[in-house]
Symmetry: none
Subunit: 393 residues, 2 copies
DNA sequence: TTGACATTGTTCGTTTCTGTTCGAGTGCGT
DNA sequence: ACGCACTCGAACAGAAACGAACAATGTCAA
């Protein structure tokens, strides 16, 4: 077969491997050989190549991120004579959803920069955020803080002001200073969720969908920008939110989920909604599952794009998804913080936004691949193909 | 004309190849030879040419977008003395105001990164911007573009779309993609002028000024965010723009300038306006000069903060000013572009905003820090005063 | 027209990539 | 100890891709 655009050449396989490593921290030969559709021997050869370059560390059965214990090749980065020049405290609101990848990226960047990350888990709650950060400050020798705190509400604002006043540099991670809060020293790295959602919506629009609904988990900080973008795109298309779906994706879970999703499907029928953006992807998987159970064909009867890409590839069919560059957020955050520590106040404050990419799978366009990719492909593909685009249109 | 090193057809083929690469991320020799109707050998020759220029990554069987794993060019580059790995084209709208420092920062960063910058001056005009950028594209061996184009209006939007579609990476410099224009590949570095203006206004507010006016050069792209911030801060202070000054600073120049400035002073008296933000600083110098001529004491009778800091230190008294981090804008732009060239498409799109700093001199607070403040410009970074964070409304 | 030059196509021996096979090594439970 | 399950990698082989050399074609100027 020649249609697999995902990884035709060895370089692409290796990039895919590294990407997987960034996400999971480890890969197995077996997994990869299935994922990429090549023999295990080939995967081993790739791993050996990369290990020889010092980019990864070989382990029995697979590979991991380059480890400090790996002495096989002189590490490409002069981690510097001084091994841990800086100690960075990091506080994240969750240790099992979304944030592990950010932490991973931060860890890797820290190793590169000769720094050490001390991690503390917290909650989506300003008071606890502050407690955890205070604990880090009380730890001797912490040079800077990476924090993904609650920024909304009076308590969030107060927390931001407190962070702004700390004696050591602080980089907001996957957060921005809230509007209306005066900050003069905070820096930030965050994903441009609004733009990500816009990309997904325009992709659906380009696939011919006129009426596009939204299921977003209202409790998440991500939902805000996503929903705002959705409303803006609707406005561009000359539509009213009331004419389609705008519900809370959290309801796709729990005892009443079946009834809820039935209601959504019913409303899709009534309003002529043919596409949905679902946030987060766990709920998208649930929802697509439900569609299949009810005989609603995806994407023919209803196209679905997930916002976030933790499990979207496991959906049946595999779900197209917007993938925030999580590990990069962590990486850039560490780089900003280390640069601040090295260069001091002469360096202007940085605010970085990173854009998500849209992973087109099978749930958004018939045939599994966008009409945007006009290629005479032999349609014979039993293995799910993944196409990565830097956006749509 | 016979001067071209490569034939017209060869160029077209290569453009087509890059185009295909942009869509798919990879091309195979076989596919391409069929698609273009030429022999495989010819395609290989094209691929080798482009790879030698560092524009793509050669792989067995075809080519991919430049990959971080591609070590071929990074190692050796025959001819160029060995160290200019990349050639970056830069187009700026002015060569005598504001932009020289940005260009400087870019130049320095380029040297650091082993790159070379080719500069072209243009105008504040979309059509000419495009002409100049096209000229750079026609220059053989340009790997990426730094541009500070016109982004407003239909022509600006069209220009952005065109930039977004170029086969080589583009970093907008001191510009952002306009709202409402769909871009999927542009990156950007810009100053957060809004935040800068906010800092100046809050500084004046903290110094006790209740009613603060604005003189902004309406023709400048910077004026937009500055004025928006000003209006927002006024709103926070519970005031109306109409109750104070909001005029065009351009009128401080030219034959009728004296009359204009007298009118402004008169209106300040009438409305009880005790402070002004003036953009740009040249006009601020003129205005302060006029105040002194008319016996209006600065800062006692009227406080002035300039937006921008090219000549503000030459004012009598020295004028407090918001200083955009110009050379940093150039530096970060080059860093983004080089990183994109090195790491390829796996790197997410970056949008960076840098914050200006407020240089407090003698025109905004009585008893400011006179003589030593304007001696060594770089040293002033440490003199920057923080804006009060409490008590505003 | 002719000759110099550039570009493209063809041939064919060489190289690269990948899958398969199979013996060796490792850890684990019985 | 033993077998078992697993992984690893050397060795081989087929297919495909590569590129040097040469041939063919087209372009331009004298």
């Amino acid at each position: 077969m020649s249609g697999a655009a995902a990884s035709r050449f060895s370089v692409q396989r290796k990039e895919r491997l590294l990407e997987q490593l960034r996400v999971d921290g480890a890969v197995s030969v077996r997994e990869l050989s299935e994922l990429l559709g090549v023999s295990e021997m080939t995967v081993r050869r790739d791993i050996n190549d990369l290990a020889r370059q010092g980019l990864i560390t070989r382990v029995h059965g697979g590979a991991t991120l380059r480890s400090a214990l790996d002495r096989t090749v002189a590490g490409r980065e002069p981690g510097d004579g001084g091994f841990n020049r800086y100690t960075l405290g990091m506080v994240v609101p969750s240790l099992d959803y979304y944030w592990p990848q950010i932490v991973n990226g931060a860890r890797m960047a820290a190793v590169q920069a000769g720094a050490r990350v001390i991690l503390r888990g917290s909650m989506y709650d300003a008071r606890d955020n502050r407690r955890q950060i205070q604990a880090l400050l009380d730890t001797a020798g912490v040079h800077g803080i990476l924090a993904g705190p609650e920024t909304a509400g009076p308590e969030g604002h107060e927390l931001l002001r407190w962070l702004d006043s700390l004696p050591i540099p602080v980089v907001l991670t996957e957060r921005r200073p809230a509007r209306g809060v005066i900050t003069t020293r905070l820096e930030s790295v965050s994903t441009d969720h609004g733009h990500g959602a816009e990309g997904a919506l325009l992709h659906l629009r380009a696939a011919g969908h006129e009426r596009i609904g939204l299921l977003a988990a209202r409790t998440s900080p991500t939902a805000g920008p996503v929903r705002r973008s959705w409303m803006e795109v609707l406005r561009l298309l000359g539509q009213e939110p009331a004419q389609t779906i705008d519900d809370d994706a959290n309801d796709c879970d729990g005892p009443k989920s079946a009834a809820f999703m039935d209601t959504v499907l019913e409303r899709c029928r009534k309003t002529g909604t043919t596409a949905l953006l679902v946030h987060p992807d766990r709920q998208a998987v649930r929802f697509v599952q439900h569609c299949v159970d009810r005989g609603v064909r995806v994407p023919d009867d209803l196209a679905v794009v997930a916002y976030d890409d933790e499990v979207a590839h496991l959906g049946q069919p595999a779900i197209s998804a917007v993938r925030p560059p999580k590990s990069w957020v962590g990486k850039v955050a560490v780089e900003l913080l280390v640069a601040r520590l090295e260069e001091g106040a002469a360096r202007p404050l940085h605010h970085v936004q990173l854009e998500p990419e849209l992973i087109v799978r099978d749930s958004s366009v018939p045939g599994g691949r966008g009409a945007d990719a006009d290629r005479a492909a032999p349609a014979e593909a039993s293995v799910t193909t993944e196409v990565t685009t830097k956006g749509t249109v």
